[in-house]
Symmetry: C2
Subunit: 228 residues, 2 copies
């Protein structure tokens, strides 16, 4: 059972001086995880009283967290009727992937110019680690590293707005992708695309990196649309 004790524990586990994270902030992360991982399915009403009791917090910080997530687009606010977990239609997902694709294409072009060799090496390290997880058929860790790589490449572009918006879209899509279990052959194809990505990045091939990122996300639609 989720409890206040686990909520108030610092995320990084360090024994830092004092708790500097506000409860509503902790709740935002906690609720976001619950939504992404499917504990709160789309259409579920977020009962303030019930949910608050379950998490061991009062309604006030909970409500604040819900407002934050509403602006993030994960929940929907219905006047006088509370909040419900937002349901994304297949078209919504397709739309998000289209935008994400465009953004990553941009990130790829910028990254080739702005990234240092050391930073590229770090992405390579993530990639190698991911390949290991792939060979071990460790889907969960593969998936996590996969996202980390995309995020890392976006970071290389050194555009704060791009990082922000990419993270937001990534979050909204996480729930979908988290569910979508593609078959071995599609998984292999995705891995091949990642190999191309790293090669293009190391060669600082702007057009090449941008193209493969775009293709990767174009194909992503094929990989997830079945599970909708």
């Amino acid at each position: 059972m989720d409890e206040i004790s686990s909520l108030q524990r610092r995320a990084d586990g360090t024994a830092g001086p004092i708790r500097r994270t506000a409860l509503h902030d902790t709740l935002v992360n906690h609720l976001r995880d619950m939504i992404i991982e499917g504990d709160l399915e789309p259409g579920t009403r977020l009962h303030e009283g019930q949910l608050g009791e379950q998490l061991g917090v009062s309604r006030t910080p909970l409500r604040e967290a819900i407002k934050y997530l509403a602006s993030e687009g994960l929940v929907e606010l219905v006047p006088s009727r509370g909040a419900v977990v937002k349901r994304f239609s297949p078209k919504d997902v397709h739309d998000m992937l289209t935008v994400l694709r465009t953004l990553e294409e941009l990130a790829g072009r910028l990254a080739c110019d702005t990234a240092s060799d050391a930073e590229i090496a770090q992405v390579r390290a993530l990639h190698d680690e991911m390949i290991d997880r792939y060979k071990a058929a460790d889907r969960l860790q593969y998936y996590k590293l996969n996202q980390d790589i995309h995020t890392a490449i976006v970071r290389l572009a050194q555009n704060s707005s791009l990082v922000d918006i990419h993270a937001m879209l990534q979050t909204r899509l996480k729930r979908i992708r988290f569910i979508g279990h593609e078959g071995p052959e599609k998984w292999a194809a995705a891995v091949r695309e990642h190999e191309e990505m790293i090669a293009a990045l190391e060669a600082r091939d702007k057009a090449g990196l941008s193209e493969v990122l775009g293709r990767h996300l174009f194909n992503a639609w094929d990989r997830v649309k079945a599970s909708l």
Copy 2:
């Protein structure tokens, strides 16, 4: 003085019996306007007690509104110290314009495929109206219609995610652009670009529309960077 009466008045001005907009929602819009119009300058601390009293509302809905705006990126939450109006560096603005440019280029390409003739005519109407305002040197209305046109074109793309994110970036940039008073020659150049935009849209010239939108936003940096 801002008062509860003006806040609780319905946005559409109808005399409907019941108020269907929640106070925190009204506050979000009100605060956003205050930030954009410069009533709350960057770096200003949002004093809950004082601001609440000034607006005639209690702290609870005010705090909820602030959390919402924080997720929107207009204010920053500092633990135990409240919220401050976010300050954007010149690089931040440049970054946002870069992303906005990419998104509008995408919107332009999509719009040529998806827009109906009637919708295009509506944009043309907005454009003509804007030209009138330009000739009348009515900067405020010109500016407003300008934004409306960009928003309308994005809408034509019929991509909900694109609309969302574009609106968010527009909002963040509104404050900057609201201040930035370009000279007559730059203004004229912007208007010429808009003429090109409409022409390309009516010709459903994907490459052309995308190009001019990109150029327009590329030049936008020149127009605002002086005022930073």
